[in-house]
């Protein structure tokens, strides 16, 4: 059952990089190579996400490609990041590192940046306004969703079903969204109102300056979905990731 939908873009500090700068770039993925923020740039420690960003930066739109040429090119792109900006990998650098100042720019899932306000050292609107998220305006970027599943050998399947029913109700899903940051696929919710409706915490679900983080249903038609790879292709991706990691 789909639990959370999200897009993968770039989270950044709005006070250091103005929104217009990143949106005005012809290839905004290149902001990751900006040497002004050397040592403060991060990508995800996940082979699919990181290599997908490399592919997208090179203009390849098939995020499940098995073409060794594209994969190796993406890997070389990522390796060039190491020398250019001393890139680091992390899994929570977006929602923990950016508010804390460890990172200035980090590859980010939309939900990470939406929830990042909870981790700023000072809790006021001024600090929250420093958090920004970018995703291509034509919505042609990486989209994906997380699921909740009940395994076949579950010990309490009935209770699990009840829990799923509970999680799927509109009220509980939106409550979870307020804390989690990851948008639940709910028919009743209108994505266009997320930047204005107040959440459980009294602030909009998604801050207006982070409007790119809202996920629309049409994103799944327009955007690039990460699917499961065949084992042979998976091996290629994994080898490229190992090569990047052993730079």
């Amino acid at each position: 059952m789909p639990y959370a939908t999200y897009t993968t873009g770039i989270g950044y500090r709005r006070d250091l990089i103005p929104d217009e700068q990143i949106r005005g770039m012809s290839n905004p993925y290149e902001i990751l190579w900006d040497t002004k923020y050397k040592g403060k740039i991060g990508i995800y420690d996940d082979y699919r996400e990181a290599l997908s960003m490399g592919l997208l930066k090179n203009g390849i739109t098939d995020l499940n490609t098995g073409n060794p040429k594209y994969i190796n090119e993406a890997q070389r792109t990522l390796t060039s990041l190491i020398n250019a900006v001393n890139v680091r990998t992390s899994i929570n650098g977006a929602y923990l590192g950016i508010p804390k100042g460890t990172f200035d720019i980090h590859q980010a899932w939309s939900g990470d940046m939406v929830a990042a306000w909870q981790y700023t050292p000072t809790q006021n609107m001024k600090t929250w306004q420093t958090l920004g998220y970018w995703f291509p305006s034509n919505r042609k970027g990486a989209v994906f969703n997380d699921t909740i599943t009940i395994p076949a050998n579950a010990q309490n399947p009935v209770l699990a079903h009840h829990f799923l029913d509970w999680m799927m109700t509109y009220k509980n899903a939106m409550l979870n969204f307020s804390w989690n940051g990851y948008q639940p696929p709910q028919r009743k919710a209108d994505p266009t109102t997320l930047t204005t409706t107040k959440s459980y915490y009294g602030e909009p679900y998604v801050f207006p300056w982070m409007a790119d983080a809202v996920v629309f249903e049409k994103d799944f038609h327009v955007g690039y979905f990460e699917e499961e790879l065949t084992p042979q292709v998976d091996q290629l991706w994994h080898n490229a990731w190992q090569a990047f990691n052993s730079a």
Binding site: K40, Y47, I82, H238, N239, W241, F244, S246, A247
Partner: protein
């Protein structure tokens, strides 16, 4: 043993039958199965839970892959072993992973050298000049054994944060103009992290040995006219060779498989060690054979110093 007739006539000495074989060394009697019986549970445990898993690793490394799911199939019969994964990983090991391997060796050698210098100095001081405070020193030296490796690394992660105390002190003393980001792929941090983590294991064996050094040998050196420095070089150091070797084995071999120091102290691919490659293949799904082959490579690599160490200790025992 036949009856031994004595030369005196009309007398026959009856030799007592040997019903109780004497243990030559101690003169006490134990049944033959007695001591092996003590060692049996431990040996069985090691055989089943240490050697057998290695065999499984070897079977996976030399095994095949399920054609549909590409999941590794261990091949337990040695005559069916295939070298496919071995060749593939050997290609990686001599190609893409070369930088990592070289870096690991450099880090380990550096860290061990620093460890040795500091640990020897500390052990020497405490052993020879500790005096009344020896108990206190010993307690302080043993303390890190009770503190988990994680906690010790964690303390450094916190101290080395951009707004941590290390940077505060450094900028206060004007040693550095602005705070340095120690945790962003700095090899110095990783090497010092390795030193910090493993040095207690080196201090104690060296201390134990230096504590028991025969004072008369040192005095003999002094009596023969050597300066303290020369006494150290010519008498103490050669005497401590076995202890140094032992502590090197205890420290260096685990360091080759260290991956968590790098993970905690540096998030960058610039400082990955060989252990990180192993850890990455474990965290990815479907990389069982790769993990198995890399484990084999590491074990074979580590056997060399192990066997050298065993040879040295066997030689030393024979010399004694």
């Amino acid at each position: 043993m036949p009856d031994a007739p004595v030369s005196r006539p009309h007398r026959r000495v009856r030799v007592l039958p040997r019903r109780r074989p004497r243990d030559e060394a101690s003169g006490a009697w134990y049944p033959r199965w007695y001591w092996p019986g003590f060692a049996l549970p431990g040996t069985l445990w090691m055989l089943v839970l240490f050697l057998l898993p290695f065999y499984v690793v070897v079977s996976i490394a030399f095994g095949t892959v399920d054609p549909v799911f590409q999941s590794p199939l261990p091949v337990y019969e040695p005559w069916w072993w295939t070298g496919r994964y071995l060749r593939e990983e050997w290609g990686f090991a001599t190609g893409e992973f070369r930088a990592v391997e070289l870096r690991t060796i450099v880090y380990v050698v550096l860290a061990t050298a620093i460890c040795l210098v500091i640990a020897y100095a500390v052990a020497y001081y405490v052993a020879r000049f500790g005096g009344k405070r020896k108990g206190l020193f010993l307690a302080l030296l043993i303390a890190p054994f009770f503190i988990s490796y994680l906690m010790r690394m964690l303390s450094w992660v916190e101290l080395l944060q951009p707004n941590g105390y290390v940077n505060t002190v450094l900028t206060f003393l004007h040693i550095t103009p602005h705070p340095i980001n120690w945790l962003a792929g700095v090899p110095f941090t990783v090497v010092m992290g390795l030193v910090y983590g493993y040095i207690p294991y080196m201090v104690l064996p060296l201390y134990g040995f230096l504590d028991r050094i025969d004072q008369s040998q040192l005095e003999a050196g002094r009596d023969l006219g050597a300066s303290p420095f020369r006494t150290f070089i010519r008498v103490t150091l050669p005497l401590s060779k076995p202890a140094i070797l032992a502590s090197l084995v205890i420290v260096t071999l685990p360091m080759f498989g260290d991956y968590y120091t790098n993970n905690l102290l540096s998030g960058s691919p610039k400082t990955t060690m060989f252990g990180n490659l192993l850890d990455n293949s474990m965290e990815a799904t479907g990389q069982g054979p790769e993990a198995a082959v890399l484990v084999l490579f590491l074990v074979v690599f580590l056997m060399i110093p192990m066997l050298y160490y065993l040879r040295q200790t066997a030689k030393a025992q024979r010399d004694q």
